[in-house]
Amino acid sequence: MSLEGKVALVTGASRGIGKAIAHALAAQGADVVGTATSAAGAEAISQSLAAAGFKGYGIVMDVSDPDSIESGLNELTEKSGSPLILVNNAGITRDNLLMRLKEDDWTSVLETNLTSVYRLSKAVLRGMAKARWGRIINISSVVAGMGNPGQGNYCAAKAGVEGFTRSLAKEMSNRGITANCVAPGFIDTDMTKKLDDKQREAMLEIIPAGRLGEPEEVAAVVAFLASDAAGYVTGETIHVNGGMYMG
């Protein structure tokens, strides 16, 4: 599964699933560029890749801001060339029951988790079309299919990402570009650490595997989808959830 010589852009790569993805792609030889919203986050990405002996570095990019996306992409294209692998991983939650869900919480989750996927995918397609090779991998969530109380905004955004991915897959297939989703279940990250003990227990009860997933277990699937071996897989959502939901 060598990704030697290919530039991979991974958003939200300073921690959690994004960090594991950055490392998994770098381990396959990709030149990984990870994004973070702060300079300290970008520096942390550079350091963690270097510490593991991998190529790649971090850049500052706020995926909810079109100007920031543009300047980040310019920076990485100048330094490394056009990315042929894009992993849209950056995401936020602003949970609340719909009766109390503020317009702001709706908009910011849609902007960061869905609109950013449109913007970044659009921006990298040209280079991929020219190369007649590309991989767009969007990190969805098990709740896109299941629904989850208190996450109307997040579920809407993630389900939107899955529909978007299927359209994109159909549009770009004959250019050697695949688009897929990976839908993690309950993974041990900062995002799930926010849940209280009661919520955690309730989640564990519905996971047949009886444990949380590790970020690396999601990253392994992303690395497969990024590889040449996955060239005929497109428009698909692959669930990584210990059996809690089987679509």
Partner: protein
């Protein structure tokens, strides 16, 4: 310096993977040169890049032959 016509034809060949001898001024991108919808979008983007101009969607839709593209570029650059 190549003429607009030569540059347009060169881009058409590159984008659509056709031989120069196949490209006539009257050639239709879709009917004669086998372009699909994505090819035409890529072609327009390549023309925009080459001639450093922006072709609005409603204008791009009207560019169906090589001559259409040449005329557009001559009139707008």
């Amino acid at each position: 310096m190549s003429t607009v016509e030569e540059r347009v034809k060169k881009i058409v060949c590159e984008q659509l993977g056709v031989k120069e001898s196949e490209v006539q001024n009257t050639s239709s991108f879709v009917e004669d040169l086998g372009a699909d919808s994505l090819d035409t979008v890529e072609l327009v983007m390549a023309l925009e890049e080459e001639f450093e101009t922006e072709i609005p969607d409603e204008e791009a839709e009207k560019l169906s032959t090589v001559q259409d593209a040449i005329d557009y570029i001559v009139a707008h650059t």
